[in-house]
């Protein structure tokens, strides 16, 4: 079994539909193609070196950030603007095609997740997999998320930060 694409918590495997393994290059193509992307940032990013890269990625493509858990405080202190929602609240909104999105311009077509508690994120991704055919999900965590449409593989910190750096890099 390829350990890079076995879900980080292996028992979250839900069925036949599995995420596509992506590199930073493929992730970039997905973002470029999206009309209204959104980034959901969870509290595991608090005090994490990845936080600055998250901010750069959002800035590079002008992606609005939703913070979950208590990530809002940490992001605000780092000068990164975000809108605070509970994880289940934002997923609940995202699954409604009629929702106007965080900017009021319509629901999002690509949602990037990073820093959400793994198993809870997996549940939220499952909701979107089943009930939000109008959008795609992409996870930027260092863990493979089988319930996403596309996911980075399982990685150690060093490789993961390189992935994020590539994605954040200004060409």
């Amino acid at each position: 079994m390829n350990e890079r694409v076995t879900p980080w918590q292996p028992t979250v495997i839900a069925g036949p539909k599995q995420a596509l393994l992506v590199t930073p290059e493929t992730a970039e193509m997905m973002i470029v193609k999206a009309k209204r992307p959104l980034m959901v940032v969870g509290p595991l990013i608090n005090d994490n070196p990845a936080q600055v890269l998250v901010s750069k990625i959002a800035e590079k493509w002008n992606i609005p950030i939703v913070s979950t858990g208590d990530a809002f405080k940490s992001l605000t202190e780092a000068g990164v603007p975000s809108k605070s929602y509970g994880l289940v609240e934002i997923v609940n909104l995202l699954k409604d095609p009629e929702w106007k999105g965080v900017s009021g311009e319509g629901n999002h077509d690509l949602v990037l997740f990073i820093g959400v508690i793994y198993y809870m994120g997996s549940q939220g991704l499952s909701t979107l997999k089943h009930f939000a055919p109008h959008l795609k999900t992409l996870t930027l965590c260092k863990f493979f998320h089988s319930n996403a449409d596309a996911s980075f593989p399982n990685m150690k910190d060093e490789e993961w930060l390189k992935y994020l750096e590539k994605l954040a890099k200004i060409d």
Binding site: W8, Q9, P10, T11, A14, G15, P16, K17, G42, P43, T68, G69, D70, F72, K73, T76, E77, S84, G86, L87, V88, E89, V91, N92, L93, W99, K100, V116, I117, Y118, Y119, M120, Q123, G124, S126, T127, K129, H130, F131, P133
Partner: protein
């Protein structure tokens, strides 16, 4: 409608009825039936009788599904793939399948509590007789608020409780049958049925706790003593009998036997999980080892000579684990037989001999009194020979074991919380045991043992953790207030008004299991936060124990710092899982005693009152079980919101409100006969928070109710804003939704809130006088006319 349940009047009726029962019990029943004209519309509600109420809730709090599995594996057509909008061979879709699973979980949970209640009731009737009175003392007239509402009847004797159980069991059979392939087809109706299963769960718990309080003379709402809690409280020099589970009967049998034989000082009786709490309600001399998270740790520690298991939340490998250190196991209910020989009718001497001589691995004994004798005598006989197994280990031994680790990392990946077990092991190689210690304390590792199952080199990781933990915390002692049972009517009279008007900002109940994301301390810290802020904090079961395992900087537990009164700044431990019934029970009593709402057959009106006026919120931070699913769903049907921890998303369904849809928050003001703009209060009915910080803020918000007076709203908003500022650094944007007039704004935040109001073009709106989801009185009257 005449209010038949006014506390004052009941007091008189109570004594009159008692006389009747002694001589002419049948006439007492007949009189109750004759008074049915004064009862509400939903006596003994069937599966569909409360469907209309459920639909009102589900319209506002739409089910949110997070499938745990993409397939259905229930019948031989399957497995069926339900992804991408596909339906299964029977026609079921993914939403309905999730809802079916929720119903199934609620049925299992409800059956566990009610099966427990049935066991207890039959046992207690056998001991005390059907006519044994249910006497809750002079401070409680409404002894069974849930039963009054659902059955329309006050139970006077143990025998009366059987009627309620019979009704409940019939309902449960119908609910379970709806899970069969080819029955219910819509998620929304599965949810209505799940809510009914939750209500049956509430009823079953009330029956169970009422029976044991009355027959075993447990505390009746009065202040209960502090009892010892913690692994360090157990005297290892003595023979130790450990009870695990929820049914007090075997534990009571042990306590009785010790008293009869005058052996109380010679044997340690202790417990894990709710059985422990209930034994201390029976006899405060017993000790509580701790919540369910202590189970594998304590069994592996070897301290228990005899392990007595009854029902619910017992590790299914308890026999194997106990035998590893030569402890004897006695199974005591039909729920858990463990493959052991049924020796219920065998002579006690013979059973003791067989167990002591290791002729049998353990015994199934379905007679609690015999369990008491056998467990005690076996512990007395084998304890001496087991002394070596109870000794603390040499840490060098752990260090040597740790060297075998190949650092594959799978112990971390399969851990439900991805706790750093591998780091603990690799540090131990260097003689640093601090990482193990961090996992051990506060049950950050709750010893599920999945890491051991995965370990490529078969390290006994939980044993290593246990032994390191014991080495450093062998003297760790805490306390918990013994379960006091129901909230007294006199307390409700005192706090009913301040709760409904908002002067007491809320009643928060910390209940449930120990599937915590970061250990038990989170629960204690949340309880501490709200106690300091004048809320009433109620607790039960494993949550109550987790709260007791936390000491502040001065070394005091929260039970030492706060009284057990149901009042502002009170920390009330109602007792075990079945005692959870007293939490909705208290809310029901508020509707009846304070607002004079009739109880009998009047579920919808009572639930509507609670939803709109009683600022209560349940918190099941470590919910793991089907019982917890049933508890939360039952609480929800009464209109009480519940917050679960992040693992709660695995229940597959939440009930979430949408604040961006103002039409969903319109309410009927029954006093003025108008539909008016409302507010998202409470915003959600079942919500999962990601961490303690988020949960704390959400809990404060979920205590807001449409009925709050401006003064009450100010108080509630003040706490919500304070906590949001503390954990999020700013004021919440949504505060504008909860300000009806400027008088609602907390003085401390007036300037900032006014600025936010200005930014959104806020306009003041009227405070509702009688907020409700129920129909206007004229509509109801017209409905009645139509039906005639």
């Amino acid at each position: 409608m005449e209010n038949k349940s006014k506390a004052k009047e009941l007091k008189d009726d109570f004594w009159k009825s008692k006389k009747l029962l002694v001589t002419t019990g049948k006439i007492a029943d007949d009189i109750q039936e004759d008074s049915s004209e004064s009862k509400g519309p939903t006596l003994k509600p069937s599966v569909t009788d409360l469907r209309e109420w459920d639909m009102k809730l589900l319209e506002r709090y739409t089910p949110f599904y997070a499938p745990f599995c993409d397939m259905c594996c229930l019948c031989t057509y399957g497995k069926c793939d339900l992804t991408g909008g596909k339906k299964g061979a029977c026609g079921i879709d993914i939403e309905a399948q999730q809802a079916r699973f929720v119903l199934l979980a609620c049925c299992i949970g409800s059956a566990a509590h009610s099966g427990h209640a049935r066991h207890l009731l039959e046992y207690l009737i056998e001991k005390k007789g059907e006519n044994f009175p249910i006497d809750m003392g002079t401070n409680i007239d409404i002894e069974a608020p849930i039963m009054r509402v659902v059955m329309g009847k006050k139970p006077k004797t143990l025998g009366d409780l059987k009627d309620a159980l019979d009704y409940l069991e019939e309902q449960m059979m119908h609910l379970l049958s709806a899970c069969h392939t080819g029955q219910e087809g819509k998620s929304i109706d599965f949810e209505s049925k799940a809510l009914h299963a939750g209500l049956m769960d509430n009823l079953g718990k009330e029956i169970g706790d009422l029976a044991q309080i009355a027959a075993l003379n447990m505390p009746k709402g009065e202040d209960a003593p502090l009892v010892e809690l913690g692994m360090g409280t157990i005297d290892k020099e003595k023979p130790v009998v450990l009870c695990i589970g929820h049914n007090v009967a075997p534990g009571a049998g042990i306590v009785d036997y010790l008293e009869d034989q005058e052996l109380e000082d010679d044997v340690e009786v202790c417990g894990i999980c709710c059985a422990a709490l209930d034994i201390t309600r029976y006899n405060p001399g017993a000790k509580v080892v701790g919540p369910i998270s202590k189970q594998l740790k304590f069994v592996r520690s070897g301290v228990a000579d005899v392990v007595v298991v009854d029902e619910q939340c017992v590790r299914t490998d308890v026999l194997e684990e106990a035998r590893k250190n030569q402890a004897c196991v006695i199974a005591t209910t039909d729920k858990i037989c463990l493959g052991l020989p049924d020796l219920t009718d065998e002579d006690a001497d013979k059973i003791v001999k067989q167990l002591v001589n290791d002729e049998i691995e353990g015994a199934l004994i379905l007679d609690p009194d015999k369990v008491g004798e056998v467990a005690t005598r076996v512990a007395l006989k084998i304890s001496k020979d087991r002394e070596a197994l109870k000794k603390l280990p040499d840490l060098q031994e752990i260090q040597e074991m740790a060297k075998e680790c190949n650092e594959c990392g799978w112990c971390v990946r399969v851990c439900p919380n991805n706790q750093p077990m591998m780091e603990a092991v690799t540090s131990a190689v260097e003689g640093d045991f601090s990482k193990f210690q961090e996992l051990y304390e506060n049950d950050v590792c709750y010893t599920c043992g999945r890491c051991e199952q995965e370990c490529e080199v078969n390290l006994p990781l939980i044993s290593m953790l246990t032994k390191v933990g014991e080495h450093y915390t062998k003297d760790e002692k805490f306390n918990v207030r013994a379960g006091r049972g129901p909230v007294q009517d006199v307390e409700i009279r005192k706090v009913g008004a301040p709760i409904v008007l908002g002067d007491i900002p809320g009643v928060i109940a910390f209940v449930g299991c120990t599937n915590y994301p970061e250990g038990g301390e989170d629960v204690a810290k949340m309880a501490e936060e709200f106690l300091e802020r004048n809320y009433i904090v109620v607790t039960s079961g494993c949550g109550a124990m987790s709260i007791g395992e936390y000491r502040d900087q001065e070394g005091n537990t929260l039970y030492e710092r706060y009284s057990g009164d149901f009042d502002a700044k009170g920390l009330v431990n109602v007792g075990s899982c079945v005692s959870n019934a007293h939490i909705p029970g208290a809310c029901i009593k508020i509707a009846n005693i304070f607002a004079k709402k009739p109880l009998e057959g009047n579920f919808e009106e009572i639930a509507d009152y609670i939803l709109n006026r009683v600022g209560a919120c349940g918190v099941a931070w470590g919910a793991y079980s089907q019982k917890a699913a049933a508890i939360a769903t039952g609480i929800n049907r009464w209109g009480i919101p519940v917050v679960v921890g992040p693992h709660g998303t695995k229940y597959r369904r939440l009930f979430l409100g949408r604040t961006d849809q103002p039409e969903k928050w319109k309410i009927n003001d029954l006093r003025v006969g108008e539909v008016i703009d409302g507010e998202p209060a409470p915003e959600h009915l079942l919500y999962a928070a990601e961490n303690r910080e988020e949960a704390t803020v959400v809990i404060a918000k979920l205590c807001i109710r449409p009925n709050d007076t401006s003064k009450g709203r100010q108080i509630k908003l003040n706490h919500y804003l304070d906590l949001h500022k503390k954990y999020f650094g700013t004021l919440p944007d949504d505060v504008v939704k909860f300000v009806r007039t400027e008088k609602d704004i907390p003085i401390t935040y007036k300037k900032e809130v006014l600025k936010l109001l200005e930014e959104v073009g806020w306009e003041p709106r009227a405070l509702p006088q009688e907020p409700s989801l129920m129909k206007f009185r004229e509509e109801k009257a017209s409905d009645k006319g139509d039906s005639k």
